[in-house]
Amino acid sequence: MRRDAKAVLVLVLLMTVVVAGCKKGGKPPVARPMPPPMVDPSSTTPTPPPGPPRPVSEPVIVPPMPAEDTIGSKSLDDLNRDSPLRPLFFELDSSEVSAAGQQVLQANAAVLKKYPNMQITIEGHCDERGTAEYNLALGERRALAAKNYLVSLGIGADKVKTVSYGKEFPFDAGHNDAAWANNRRAHFVITAK
């Protein structure tokens, strides 16, 4: 309030000086610069005092929430690096889909239904406790078992390719139970979206 009153006083004094200057003198000014139109001459009332310095800013963009349709925006490689499709794992020498495996496939099927243009390849992988040759067939059986289950859940067979890599491309290079369990899998690769 006090500050406002001071500002008004200063303005009134200034205007008095300007108005007095205009009325004084009869000679026409030559090449005299125009006075700044600080005050509307027609206005008899003083202009309202300006407010405090305006804050300079722009609206802040809210960072996007990780939306559900990142699949649409990611490259296939990025998608496969952090895939929405989880692998399922198998017992030694087995291509049977376990109860846990069925849950994984149901979740994967839900993703595939949400994105009907998605095409996938299921890779069958095996651990080193099988032979190189037999594992080629076993990996194929694992990939086929996963595919057949997806098809039974209503996923089109034409969307799902299979390939077996046997034990040629292990995910874990270790030679222990954990590594072997990790390598006995059906691995999902998105090939189109």
Binding site: D77, N80, R81, D93, T121, E128, R129, G130, T131, A132, E133, Y134, L136, A137, L138, E140, R141, L144, K161, T162, V163, S164, Y165, E168, F169, F171, V189
Partner: protein, 458 residues
């Protein structure tokens, strides 16, 4: 010492065969040996004393030219010939460093017999290498030290680029002439290797390319024969040694490719019918047996080499895979999971006469030996890993060849049935080894990268 004693009748046959070989090949000689006429060699077989194994020496060949290439060829040929002869275990090869002090024969005819006799040698191979306009000329003779006479001689000429080939040729011809034996010195191995360290394209995981390679039987002169930056495994020689069929993922899924390695051409016989893998040539080279998922499950098929006349051999909800032809081509041994575990079975090429062969906890990759050994070698689970076993078809008797050093897989017979190549991790990474059918004479063939699924040329 050796297990392959040669009956007298075979020796007589060998003499006749040798005479034919000599008669056929000697006219190619540029300068016949001055003293020993080819005809006089007929029937001369080197033997040891009183039934002992024949003791043989192979000193450095005499270089008749003083240039470095010829000098090195002289040493290489003698070293490789010693190794080649040692490999078949028909002769006791006297270690080369024990006769370094014996002066080289000034000419091929001036053999210091007394010195070789002192060393206990029954025979000595003396040779010369000479630079000629077209490369080198190599002359080699086997001398009987006791009888002081030349038993067998050969003269070769050709490029100086690969002196080892002269040794391999001499070894095979010497084994043929002296022991009626088909040596393996000129055979080759094919295998799959990640040694070029390239990565598979189109995958977010780091995966090493595996390509098909060919090397001499002793691992020398490795050559790459596929370049497609994918997985290329389970190579198999055609019987004529000019083509290799293998499982290739170059289209993204396994399919059978045939590389004609001397023509530089390729064939895709299956015409993309399903996925196909593990091709093996029939003994006559006209057919290929393989595994395919074309009917929804891994089953065995046989087709003509050009892909025509595809026949399905098995029909079982479990896995059927890993075929190998019998020497006559009338039967196929393969692996089936139909009993609950992978086991080796035999079936007629017409699909009749199915019977189980193996009684293991896990058996795969049968390979049927060439005649006269009617045996099947296979990979058997023996613990955490695998070992190589051999089973007689006639008696069913099984013997183990490797014993838990690393894991041992993918046996493949040599064409004479006396040796097996296989993959082993005993030296760390996967490497190709060879071993004799009695489990002795183990040799590491590859050392670079990981190497697997070997196959031996005919």
């Amino acid at each position: 010492m050796h297990n392959y004693s040669v009956p007298w009748k075979v020796l007589v046959a060998a003499m006749i065969a040798a005479s034919a070989v000599v008669a056929a090949q000697q006219p190619a000689q540029q300068t016949p040996p001055p003293q020993q006429k080819p005809q006089s060699e007929i029937g001369l077989i080197l033997t040891g004393e009183a039934g002992a194994q024949t003791r043989l020496a192979v000193p450095d060949l005499l270089s008749l030219s003083s240039d470095r290439e010829t000098t090195e060829a002289a040493r290489t040929i003698s070293e490789v010939l010693w190794d080649d002869l040692n490999y078949e275990r028909e002769f006791y090869m006297i270690p080369r460093d024990t006769y370094k002090s014996i002066p080289p024969a000034p000419t091929i005819d001036a053999v210091p017999y007394e010195r070789w006799r002192e060393l206990g040698a029954d025979g000595v191979v003396i040779g010369t290498v000479q630079k000629v306009a077209t490369g080198i000329k190599v002359e080699l003779r086997l001398y009987n030290v006791r009888a002081r006479q030349s038993l067998f001689g050969r003269e070769y000429t050709g490029s100086a680029a690969n002196p080892r080939l002269y040794a391999h040729t001499m070894s095979d011809e010497l084994h043929e002439s002296q022991r009626s034996l088909r040596g393996v010195a000129r055979t080759k191995l094919t295998f799959s290797s990640d040694r070029n360290k390239e990565a598979v394209v189109g995958t977010v995981e780091k995966r090493d390319v595996k390509e098909v390679y060919v090397a001499d039987y002793d691992g020398a002169n490795p050559r790459r024969i596929t370049i497609n930056r994918s997985l290329n495994i389970t190579p198999n020689w055609s019987p004529d040694g000019r083509s290799i069929a293998y499982t290739s993922y170059r289209t993204g899924v396994p399919d059978i490719m045939i590389s004609n390695i001397y023509a530089g051409t390729m064939e895709t016989p299956t015409k993309n019918a399903g996925q196909n893998w593990l091709p093996v040539f029939s003994p006559d080279g006209k057919k290929i047996a393989f595994t395919s998922n074309r009917d929804g499950n891994p089953e065995l098929y046989v087709m003509n080499r050009d892909g025509s006349d595809v026949r399905r051999l098995t029909n079982n909800p479990e896995i059927d895979t890993s075929p190998t032809f019998s020497p006559a081509g009338t039967q196929i041994a393969f692996t089936s999971g139909r009993s609950g575990t992978p086991q080796v079975y035999v079936i007629g090429i017409d699909g009749a006469g199915l019977r189980r062969i193996s009684q293991e906890s896990y058996a795969d990759r049968a390979t049927w030996s060439p005649a006269p050994f009617n045996e099947i070698a296979f990979t058997a689970r023996t613990g955490p890993g695998f070992d190589i076993k051999i089973q007689s078809i006639a008696t069913g008797e099984t013997r183990q060849i490797t014993f838990g050093e690393g894991t041992n897989e993918s046996p493949a017979w040599s064409p004479n049935g006396r040796h097996l190549s296989f993959m082993s991790t005993r030296a760390g990474r996967s490497q190709i080894f060879t071993v004799d059918r009695d489990g002795r004479n183990l040799r590491q063939i590859t050392r670079e990268g990981n190497n697997q699924t070997p196959n031996w040329s005919q």
